[in-house]
């Protein structure tokens, strides 16, 4: 009985197609073709097609310098910065489901994320990922500098990169306030106090007292750039909602736009740098 079964199984397996044949059948089937528009990318033509006919991959060139795809050369830091940005976007959206940016709820929503929200670890991923992104962006800049990759024709992309550095720090800084704990409130207080000293625009800045009409000061504690940034004289609930909107909407949109330009310019300026 058992022998008979074994024989039957062996026979069935002998008739079964090989993995290669299965792969071929799938990769040349109608469903695969309709999705990817080309066969399995193991021929030069299909490898080219894989990059050209895919929205996400088409940011890449079809071919790249061999020296430029080495980890020891690129350190992968630009890519990791982008990966961390995507990570932060996803975890950030999940956090928005649970977080209310009001003085009454903000802190306790964060405590809830730690204590009893399923997958509350997304806050840890978001927080540590943000720190890691700051470092990754610095290291990316460091690498670009050390390889002289800002030299013509890539000058302007370096400039965009510097703006993206600022955006990264702004994203991190605006996010720093949102947990609404002592660390957040006072770090933002220390950071935003600087705005009071902006020349001409902050009421404790040089020259601000000169801006007056008929003895009436135009730049004072209730009208300067510090007030505009905080929505008040101190870090308060008004600041929380401002930073929340900046953190979740305004700065990410600017970041995404500039990143698109940054990546596009890498291609336009001759791809990843290499010795001439």
């Amino acid at each position: 009985m058992l022998d008979k079964l074994k024989k039957m199984i062996d026979e069935k397996f002998a008739q079964a197609p090989s993995p290669e044949a299965v792969k071929k059948a799938i990769a040349e089937g109608q469903i695969w073709k309709s999705i990817f528009r080309h066969g399995y990318p193991d021929t030069p033509r299909n490898r080219v097609m894989a990059v050209l006919s895919n929205l996400f991959l088409h940011l890449h060139p079809v071919k790249a310098r061999h020296s430029g795809v080495k980890m020891s050369y690129t350190w992968c830091m630009g890519g990791l910065s982008f990966f961390l940005f995507l990570n932060l976007t996803v975890t950030g959206i999940l956090l928005m489901f649970y977080y209310r940016p009001t003085a009454e709820y903000a802190y306790y929503d964060i405590v809830a994320l730690r204590e009893h929200v399923p997958l509350g670890i997304m806050r840890e991923i978001h927080r540590w990922g943000a720190h890691a992104m700051v470092i990754a962006v610095w290291l990316h800049m460091f690498r670009v500098f050390m390889t002289g990759s800002y030299k013509p024709p890539r000058e302007f992309n370096w400039v965009i990169g510097v703006v993206l550095l600022v955006i990264t720090l702004l994203l991190s800084f605006t996010g720093y306030l949102l947990p609404w704990d002592q660390l957040a409130m006072w770090a933002i207080t220390v950071g935003t106090n600087m705005a009071r000293a902006t020349p001409f625009m902050g009421y404790e800045g040089p020259g601000a007292s000169m801006i007056q009409i008929g003895g009436v000061h135009l730049v004072h504690g209730g009208s300067d750039i510090h007030f505009a940034l905080l929505g008040g004289h101190f870090v308060s609930e008004a600041t929380l909602i401002r930073f929340y909107v900046l953190h979740c909407v305004v700065v990410p949109i600017v970041a995404a736009t500039l990143m698109a330009i940054h990546f596009w310019r890498v291609r336009k300026d001759g791809g990843i740098s290499g010795p001439l």
Binding site: L80, W186, A197, P206
Partner: protein, 362 residues
């Protein structure tokens, strides 16, 4: 063991910390052939790990500060910047050797060879994504994100620190007023970074690691990045305690530490201590020495340097007046921070120009 810790606390002061970091920077440039050898670099790594383990074991205070969750990124920063400095210098040294022998840099050997992005680049990205994701996940599983007690305006923590990546700027506040340290200098840092590709006319060293071919670009950049940014963040994290007073890395943060505030303005030095006639009432006359000093620094010094230093002359010829002028201004702005630091340490100078009437202090 506490004798060693006390000795380190005693030796480390803001000025000696700065001096040691400048010496280390000089040694890093000078002896790059030696320390970039992998065997030597591994010893340096063990030394750094050993120093941290030693500090953690023998100093309760250091362990307490170092294990604050928000200070974790500092270690990530220190070790990653250290590793990648090694990696870039190592490749630069190897390339410089090849170039000295008339060979092209290592990158050149494969730069003409093109590879298909699918699969050669896509799989690198794929693996990097997976490794990055795993590291982030494990990190998040092991360590809670920092969360202190709920925000209250009624209790100001002492010290109040900015987010760690801004601690270099906060440290600058010791030497310059907020309008400079918090607004003007950050702006100049960014403008200076953006100006780099337009000032650096050197066609060599594009697309490969090298040191010898780009000395003049690399040394100032790394001085700014290491000495005026990374080490100041480290200092701000571990050596600035209550009242933003300086503490040794193993010294307990005593909120009642008394520090003599004996800083003196330049105007007082000259009018009161040297001329002995008291401060003039008009602040423009009172601060004329400061205006003269700052004016001389920004206006008279560049031509003088250009005349006296052959390197500056060479740069002027290469870059043209506009580029050279911008470079000089940015360089002098950067140098003004260490200069003010040294003046503070040597003669307790508070302000060069002090006009608190209109918040104009330099």
């Amino acid at each position: 063991m506490h004798y060693i810790l006390d000795a380190i606390d005693f030796v480390l002061q803001p000025w000696s910390y700065f001096l040691f970091s400048v010496i280390a920077f000089w040694a890093m440039i000078k002896y790059r052939e030696t320390w970039t050898e992998p065997a030597f670099a591994v010893k340096l790594l063990w030394g750094a790990i050993g120093a941290i383990v030693f500090s953690m074991v023998y100093s309760d205070h250091f362990r307490e500060i170092a294990s604050l969750p928000d200070n974790v990124p500092i270690f990530l920063m220190v070790f990653s910047v250290g590793f990648f400095t090694w990696l870039s210098f190592r490749q630069g040294v190897l390339n410089d050797r090849r170039i000295a022998q008339g060979q092209p840099p290592i990158e050149k050997e494969t730069s003409d060879k093109k590879v298909y992005v699918w699969p050669d680049l896509v799989y690198v990205e794929f693996i990097a994504t997976i490794v990055g994701g795993i590291v982030l996940l494990v990190w998040s599983l092991c360590l809670h994100a920092p969360l202190e007690q709920a925000a209250t305006p009624a209790w100001t923590p002492n010290p109040s620190k900015a987010p760690w990546y801004f601690l270099g700027l906060q440290e600058m506040l010791v030497y310059y007023d907020p309008w400079l340290a918090g607004v003007v200098y950050p702006t100049l840092i960014l403008v200076g970074l953006m100006a780099i590709p337009y000032i650096d006319k050197n066609p060599k060293g594009a697309g490969y690691y090298t040191f010898n071919e780009r000395k003049l670009a690399i040394i100032p950049f790394l001085f700014g990045f290491f000495i005026l940014w990374v080490t100041l963040i480290f200092l701000g994290t571990f050596m600035r305690g209550p009242g933003w007073n300086f503490f040794g890395p193993y010294e307990n943060w005593d909120p009642h530490k008394v520090v003599v505030l004996n800083n003196v303005n330049l105007s007082e030095y000259i009018w009161v201590r040297i001329l002995g006639i008291g401060l003039p009432a008009n602040f423009l006359i009172r601060e004329m020495w400061g205006f003269l000093a700052v004016g001389a620094y920004l206006v008279a010094l560049p031509p003088l340097l250009t005349k006296k230093i052959p390197l500056c002359q060479e740069l002027l010829e290469k870059l043209g007046v506009a580029r050279y002028g911008v470079l000089m201004f940015l360089f002098l702005s950067m140098a003004s921070l260490p200069i003010k630091m040294v003046l503070r340490w040597l003669i307790n100078l508070k302000y060069v120009i002090a006009i608190p009437e209109i918040f104009f202090n330099i």
